[in-house]
Symmetry: C2
Amino acid sequence: MRWQPDAVGRLQASALELFAERGYDATTVADIAGRAGLTRRTFFRHFTDKREVLFVGSEQLLQAFLAAMEAADLDAPPLDTVIVGVEALADIFGPERHQFARTRAAIISSCPELHERELIKLASMSAAAAETLRTRRVPGPVATLAADTGVNVFHATFTRWIAQDDPAAFRRILHEVLRTLSSLIAHHRSDTDTAALT
Amino acid sequence: MRWQPDAVGRLQASALELFAERGYDATTVADIAGRAGLTRRTFFRHFTDKREVLFVGSEQLLQAFLAAMEAADLDAPPLDTVIVGVEALADIFGPERHQFARTRAAIISSCPELHERELIKLASMSAAAAETLRTRRVPGPVATLAADTGVNVFHATFTRWIAQDDPAAFRRILHEVLRTLSSLIAHHRSDTDTAALT
């Protein structure tokens, strides 16, 4: 067997190229392995199926997010704790990852099955964040709302990051999203909300 | 053929009973029809499969939500417009629906396939709300964030409504959730956020 430097990286790059060229459904594992100059067997040593190529980083992402939340000041307000977690993702979504993230997102939005998997990933992230907040004695319903809000902020940041051309902008965009959210809430003052204050 | 008063309602009630008793996976369409005193053929006249029994109201829900958003004051801030839509759902999630919603939620959380379908439903609701905001000249990224935030508020309200015992509490809980959200954002003032203001 030949020595295979960075087989995972080569398989990922080949898969992304092929998904973009031919579509996700029309690409087989054999195609991916062939393009990378590797065998199907090598592919299956690293991934369970072709979908996993696109989601292999999700677990590390989740762990980085939760580790940062756990390291946050215990006195931090709930949403701050979640945002500390999102801040940690700025290190992962650095300039070197911009092109990959863009290509990956285009593939994911082209295929309902992948899009659903992405939604489930975000929901798991939110559930884990809520659980982390509850272990920090944040009451359940507040924990869920803070977690969902923080994961929304992450999702909005990520979506804007890949839609624009500055690969280093993740952190700046995160701050913009937080300001937009503050302003949305600050300007929210409907009749019903006023009625609720009585 | 016998006259079948409210076949849909009877099939729904039977399905919920059986899903709760035996589990979703172990229940067949024949079981559901049998319990309702109807035939499989009648079942398939109203539903495409057993899953649809649980999601048949989703489309009306979405339409009521969007219709209320479209009727909202054109000068309303973006989040208010979405919340007007959520307010309209308070009429649908009235006291008579509390027990059904509770039982349905318990079944959905017991089955990953159903839970995924529920996530997709919420994501569609958010995408449709964002589109409605964009037609009202709200800039794209703000529209997405406001829509996601509003749908979060709906989801948090719904979750609390079914977790507590007052069937008439949907609107009151909605207002509580809005206050919790305001307070989460108001208390959010991390270092990074302060840095962003410079």
